[in-house]
Amino acid sequence: MSTIIAIAVLGVVCLLAEIFNLRKAIIPITVAGLLAILGMTVTEFNTTESYYNNMIVVNRFTVAFSSLFILLTLFLVTLSHHFYKNRPSKVSDFIAIKIFLLLGAVAMVSFGNLAMFFLGLEILSISLYILAGSKPLSLKSNEAGMKYFLMGSFASGVILFGIALIYGAVASFDMNMIYEASNSAATGDWFYIGVCMITVGMLFKIAAVPFHFWAPDVYEGAPALTTATMSTLAKVVAMATFFKLNMAMNGNMNFAYETVIVIISIFSMTVGNIMALRQNNIKRMLAFSGISHAGFMLMALLNLSNTTGSLFYYVTAYTLAGIAAFAVILYVCNDKDDESITFFNGLGKNNPVMAAVLSASLLSMAGIPIFSGFFAKFFILNQTLQAGYLILVIAGIINSIISVYYYFKVISAMYTKEPNEAKKPVPFEYYVVAVLAIGLNIAIGLFPSCLMDLL
């Protein structure tokens, strides 16, 4: 609980620093603050408590995911230093919005009451609408902001209607009461309609297939750092929250619901991968790759009691690879209008380290051994197999094979083609973040049990 308060204070401090003419100090202060908050959160690891009439719950699940979100925000804030170099007067706003986004993210995984869930969701979404439209002079960014806003608030409306129906059936917003209601036979039909509407809304937020159409456009149009935020932080926050909601709402998850999840998972993987094959813009390609990863993450819902560890491992592996990839993308496409794959031609000659980092992160996403992406897929497919969904596992493996093609398209552009521009220096922050993120990715790939045993 102190995590949420500390994050809110840090966000306000960012805004105040601008007033007191400490613009240069904002990013160092934020990084130091986030490190302190990360340490504070980790020390809470073994406590299980609830605060404010069960509004906020602290347990292993929330602490593990909150720590991951804080780490990701730390990387994103570090990348901001160079990314917003040309707009110094806006730095405090952007950093403060990122911190408030983290606040929403932490509130979303540590809710004990649907009111807290809704507030967290909205804080996260509203911050992302602002960040997506944060280049007011670029029409692409405007368009991305508008599309994300319309789709996001539509999804929020659907979730809100679901919450109202659940309240109608249970007479409480408290998750414990909802859990009891979901296990009792006397619960009215409103409850199940409500659960379905929340499911639809959350599938919008994680961009699973029938509700994915906004993702590629928004990812392509938004500024690159915002895309990095959306494809790593926002996606796993929504996924962790969806998982937690399912643990409470679907005490006796029936066969029809599981079938729907299986179908959505298969379609997310297939549509995401097949559409990614024909993309020439790397942000758009990663958007479709994110859709297919959402399909993999949805598999965790089929075996709710056992998969918490493997879901956590999967999202950690995916987000660390994503951060490393985006650090390189930011470096390559910093001064350009779009993010075509041709800009990566010859990166292997110009800058071997950054090229190696990008290759490693793409290989991790594709699921090649040594990198943690392989073990993540292995664990989650293993759990799905134990739950008895053989078809889903086969679809998952076929899709991993398809995905190798488009990841290798970028890798071959980097190593086999001639560079079409002169070498440019790597900003120090990009270098540190890229190497650190991929290093952590490989480290958890070598020692998977250190994360798997946490939850």
Binding site: L114, A115, F118, L119, E122, S125, I126, Y129, I130, G133, P136, L137, L139, K140, N142, E143, A144, G145, M146, K147, F149, L150, S153, F154, S156, G157, L160, F161, I163, A164, L165, Y167, G168, A171, S172, F173, W190, P216, D217, E220, G221, Q279, N280, N281, R284
Partner: protein, 106 residues
């Protein structure tokens, strides 16, 4: 207040707010003027507020009404951000027709 709900029945409120919600959904799907789409989002959220208040009276429990305050505050913040994005679109394009936003495809 309770006897009113007994006479009318909570289902009626449910139908009314479902109807309002659907009007909002169709407004977003069919209309192309951004302002009208924003109004449709507001109708969706207000339909939910109505439902929450009706259920709150039905269950004799205040937490539903408190939730309505949260959702009203959130809706206001959301539309403020939406209008800001809309203003920057209007500056660039000189129009608020959603159909003009067709740069991102693929």
């Amino acid at each position: 207040m309770e006897h009113i709900l007994k006479e009318i029945g909570v289902e009626t409120y449910l139908y009314l707010s479902a109807l309002l919600f659907s009007i909002g959904v169709f407004g977003i799907l069919l209309r192309r003027n951004a302002i009208i789409m924003f109004m449709s989002i507001e109708i969706m959220l207000n339909a939910v507020n109505l439902l929450l208040v009706a259920f709150s009276t039905f269950h004799q429990d205040a937490s539903g009404q408190v939730f309505v305050f949260f959702s009203m505050a959130v809706a206001a913040a959301e539309v403020a951000v939406g209008l800001a994005i809309l203003v920057s679109i209007f500056r660039n394009l000189g129009s608020i027709d959603i159909d003009n936003l067709k740069n991102l495809k693929g």
